[in-house]
């Protein structure tokens, strides 16, 4: 009972420290608010907005921003703000899911490569190098055209194309962590290879990967936007930020809001994730806890 209490106490204290370090920079607060707001709005948009995102209304084509349409309407008379908020769902989903796919697979491959070394390492890393040689958008385009459009495929494409980054970063840190005394100590004190790999090595490589994931989240959203812009992404009429920029681009001279507003959302989201990624790195460094 005593022990349990002590544990809880420290967990609470740790959470407090965590928050303290995370928000030690003012910008992070803004970034964090933006992310939370985005998620809330994406969830609540059916309640908040009186418009259907996909229903066209030819009477209201390309209207400039006013009281009823805060960001105007597009070429089919759909409310831009409503579509942006529905697009948030797609963008965040694609961003989160594809980085998760890339992170998990990449870390697993990197861990195996770094831990086993030798021929396994060579094979895995050469494949990764080959993948890195192809630009992400091109790779995703290629995968997309092979697999077809659709949300699931987009996630898969972007996820696969980002694997090499994680594999490389993980392998690098595995190689350096592996040489430390506490790994040797683990071996001496009877830990199995699997235990060492997961408990000691992976845990210590996790922070750099987590930070990269938050930063890549922005990248993934951008890639999705590019793919949608290139008409290889989400099927219309489903709203996605990239698709909206691509579509609004044609009407830039008549109603710039149609292209610029989703663009601003992309920029804000990517920035917010990057800022939070930096803060996360500070938090995950055990030495910085409480000192900042």
């Amino acid at each position: 009972m005593e022990v349990q209490k002590g544990k809880q106490h420290t967990t609470a204290k740790r959470m407090q420290e965590f928050a303290g370090v995370f928000f030690s920079r003012k910008l992070v607060i803004f970034g964090f608010i933006i992310i939370v707001a985005m998620i809330l709005l994406a969830l609540l948009v059916p309640v908040l907005s009186p418009y259907d995102p996909n229903l066209s209304s030819l009477k209201e084509v390309l209207r400039h921003p006013d009281i009823s349409h805060w960001l105007g309407t597009d070429d089919l008379g759909r409310d831009v703000l409503t579509r942006i908020l529905y697009g948030t769902r797609v963008s965040l989903l694609v961003g989160l899911a594809s980085t998760l796919v890339a992170g998990v697979l990449g870390m697993a491959l990197g861990l195996i490569a770094g831990y086993m070394e030798g021929i396994v390492d060579s094979v895995i890393m050469r494949i990764m190098d080959a993948m890195l040689a192809v630009p992400i958008v091109i790779l995703a385009l290629f995968l997309g055209s092979a697999l077809g459009k659709g949300l699931g495929n987009i996630i898969f494409c972007i996820g696969i194309s980002m694997i090499p980054r994680y594999a490389r970063v993980t392998r690098g840190s595995v190689l350096s962590v592996k040489k430390l005394d506490y790994i040797t100590a683990g071996r001496i004190y009877g830990a199995s290879r699997f235990q060492i790999a997961v408990k000691h090595i992976l845990k210590n490589c996790l922070s750099s990967n987590l930070v990269m994931m938050t930063m890549n989240l922005g990248d993934a959203i951008l890639t999705e936007a590019s793919l949608s812009y290139l008409a290889m992404g989400i099927n219309p009429p489903t709203a996605s930020w990239g698709g909206m920029v691509s579509n609004g681009y044609e009407w830039l001279s008549m109603n710039p809001c149609v292209a610029i507003a989703p663009g601003i959302f992309i920029v804000l989201t990517v920035w917010a994730f990057n800022v939070c990624g930096d803060a996360l790195r500070d938090v995950l460094d055990p030495k910085l806890k409480g000192t900042l």
Partner: protein, 676 residues
């Protein structure tokens, strides 16, 4: 003598976000022409910062000189701007610095010659050709053979000792008035250390330069310094001539330090007296003496009188000390613990010692050398070469030697972390030389290891309690959850830590505390043997004594055997029952501590013992300068015949052809040399 440099009331601060750390607090000292002055203190005592603040080499921010003056040749050099022409002339020109790490203080992409010529051209306004000429002369002066050829070498082509010689040559190149050696020999081996210090001493005496030795090693000071400043927590606590400091120490910290270091010349029956606790927080100085919480002589008045000011001791004009109490010899004797308490208790169970626990027979370990694009194996380096020894139950066996002699590889081979090329390792009667990883479980339970670096041997993200628990869980010792908790508490208690700190992460502990946690983990599964691989060399002197005493105490209580690997001969003498000396992968001499230290037979052992400094100026003065020259050859081109023949003063033709075998030279004493 003229005062060359005088520092008055210097205060150096480091400003951090929320707090200000005072690294040097109202420091005053002076340097006279041509003398050797030592600054001694543990890590964080402010000894380096004090030296660097004059040259304005402390990064600013966060460093910041908060007050004081530094007078050098009639001018206050603190008044110069950090990047000013005048200051740059003093840096390197008038005051030279030799840094600790010879690896990082030379530019790896420039040849030695170019680096040396650079500062010579700048300060002495010589032409390139003249500068090269001067560089060559200097290299010869610091004892580097083929100086001309060496000028073309890159730093990585030189050994650590050679690089430090180059650093000295560079520092000397512009005829400086003051030479600061900041832990310049700490990273070097004992024999090399002695060579380098001897070299510096001779050069300094010859040219009339003032030498400042900044070090944590009190013993080293006894041999070389004329005057000593002892620093603690950013303050000078005592200063005086070497004799005054070593024989009439009157500040509790100095007294404590002198008692905490094991010495070759001290009686071995005595326990070390550690200084309790850790160095206080420099950001939170408070009103009182910084040493108060650790001071065994503290009295009531210390708590009310504020920070003590330096005051002369007796009628000496060199000896000063900052303490409220007057610790005369009588007071010290009265307040000292009874002599019996200081004696080490006799070990129990001598009969047990005849049982062999670990037997290493003819052990060799080799590492492959690869080369070329396809990493083809082109040869082998033998790191350990036909090593044999026995470790008895409940005994401490010391393995000493300089870096690269293969002592750690022996330990790793015993733990089966390194594959054995030939030979046998028997642990408790079972041959473990070629056991598979999985079959090692029951054996490894009984072995444990403590590593050198307390920072690297704990997982930074694992709570220390879980780390200590790990062996218990992994070896499936059948503890229930409650028993596990209980056992962890017990282990923390054994190593003198509070059980409640088990939920903390390693970075929240100091180096000494971490080493205690590592020891607790080693003890967890009740091993019968613990290998201590340089377990105390990364710790500060006062903490070192704490850990040594802890290891001894634990052995007394739990009766395990230690294989104690270290490069510090004084520590090994203090702790070990039997000792083996290794050189270039071989054991050259082995025996009981008494035989080995009292009557060393192998020339290498003799040379090693000659090089070890002792905290005893009298003894040091009467000791002849050491005779050993050269450096340990690389194991890749091991000499034929006796490994030591390239440096041995006695070496003959025979030694270069044939390897001498181990011979009995007395009861419990063997050596491998033709001239015994």
């Amino acid at each position: 003598m003229k005062r060359l440099l005088e520092v008055k009331d210097l205060t150096m601060e480091f400003r951090q976000r929320s707090k200000t750390l005072i690294a040097a607090n109202h420091i005053s000292y002076y340097l006279e022409e041509g003398e050797i002055v030592a600054f001694v203190g543990e890590s964080g005592s402010g000894k380096s910062v004090t030296q660097y603040s004059g040259l304005q080499l402390v990064p600013c921010p966060p460093g910041h000189v908060a007050g004081g003056e530094i007078w050098f040749q009639g001018e206050n050099i603190l008044s110069y701007g950090p990047g000013s022409e005048k200051l740059r002339q003093i840096r390197g020109g008038q005051i030279g610095v030799i840094f600790q790490e010879p690896m990082t203080s030379l530019n790896p992409v420039m040849t030695i010659g170019k680096q040396m010529a650079e500062s010579i051209c700048l300060h002495l306004k010589m032409s390139k050709k003249e500068a090269r000429q001067r560089a060559e002369e200097l290299l010869e002066k610091v004892g580097i053979p083929d100086a001309k050829e060496r000028l073309k070498a890159y730093p990585h082509q030189l050994s650590g000792g050679m690089r430090q010689r180059v650093m000295i040559a560079m520092a000397l190149s512009c005829n400086p008035k003051v030479l600061i050696a900041d832990e310049a020999t700490t990273a070097l081996d004992v024999t090399t250390q002695a060579q380098i210090l001897e070299l510096m001493k001779n050069i300094v005496k010859e040219t009339g330069t003032t030498l400042v030795i900044v070090t944590h090693n009190l013993s080293l000071v006894a041999r070389y310094a004329d005057r000593v400043y002892v620093m603690y927590a950013g303050e000078i606590v005592e200063a005086g001539t070497t004799d005054e400091i070593f024989y009439h120490a009157s500040h509790p910290y100095t007294i404590g330090l002198l008692k905490a270091i094991p010495s070759l010349s001290a009686p071995r029956e005595q326990k070390l007296v550690p200084i309790s606790g850790n160095v206080g927080n420099l950001a939170d100085r408070g009103q009182n003496c910084m040493f108060l919480p650790r001071c065994p002589y503290a009295s009531k008045e210390c708590e009310s009188k504020g920070t003590p000011q330096p005051a002369p001791v007796g009628d000496s004009d060199t000896h000063i000390r900052a303490c409220h109490r007057t610790l005369t010899r009588e007071v010290l004797e009265k307040e000292q613990p009874a002599p019996q308490a200081l004696l080490r208790t006799k070990k129990q169970g001598d009969a047990q010692e005849n049982q062999v626990l670990l037997q290493v027979e003819d052990l060799s370990v080799t590492f492959p050398i690869y080369s070329g694009v396809f990493r083809k194996k082109i040869g082998e380096v033998s790191a350990v070469n036909h090593v044999s020894f026995q470790l008895h139950r409940g005994e401490t066996f010391g393995l000493v030697g300089e870096s690269g002699c293969g002592k750690s590889t022996v330990a790793r081979a015993i733990m089966r972390l390194e594959e054995t090329a030939s030979g046998k390792i028997l642990f408790d009667g079972t041959d473990i030389t070629h056991r598979k990883e999985k079959e090692l479980y029951p054996v490894r339970r009984n072995m444990a290891m403590i590593f050198q670096d307390p920072y690297g041997s704990l997982d930074p993200r694992q709570r220390v309690g879980d780390a200590v628990m790990e062996p218990l869980v992994n070896f499936k010792l059948g503890y229930s959850k409650k028993e596990l908790d209980h056992r962890v508490d017990e282990l923390f208690d054994l190593v003198g830590l509070d059980g409640t700190c088990r939920y903390r992460l390693p970075h929240e502990f100091s180096g000494g505390q971490r080493q205690r946690i590592v020891i607790a983990r080693a003890l967890a599964a009740n091993p019968s043997m613990i290998i201590c691989d340089e377990a105390i060399s990364a710790l500060d002197v006062s903490i070192q004594a704490q850990v040594i005493n802890l290891l001894e105490e634990l052995k007394e209580r739990l009766g395990m055997a230690y294989l104690f690997i270290a490069h510090d001969l004084s520590v090994v003498r203090h702790i070990s029952d039997r000792i083996a000396v290794m050189y270039l992968g071989q054991i050259v001499e082995t025996g009981g501590w008494k035989e080995l230290y009292g009557n060393p037979r192998h020339p290498y052992t003799q040379a090693l013992l000659d090089s070890v400094p002792t905290p005893n100026p009298e003894y040091e003065r009467n000791r002849s300068a050491h005779k050993i020259s050269g450096e340990v050859p690389s194991p890749m081109n091991r000499p034929d015949g006796c490994a030591f023949c390239t440096r041995c003063p006695k070496a003959s033709e025979k030694c270069r052809i044939k390897m001498p075998a181990m011979e009995q030279v007395g009861e419990n004493h063997q050596a491998a040399c033709f001239f015994l």
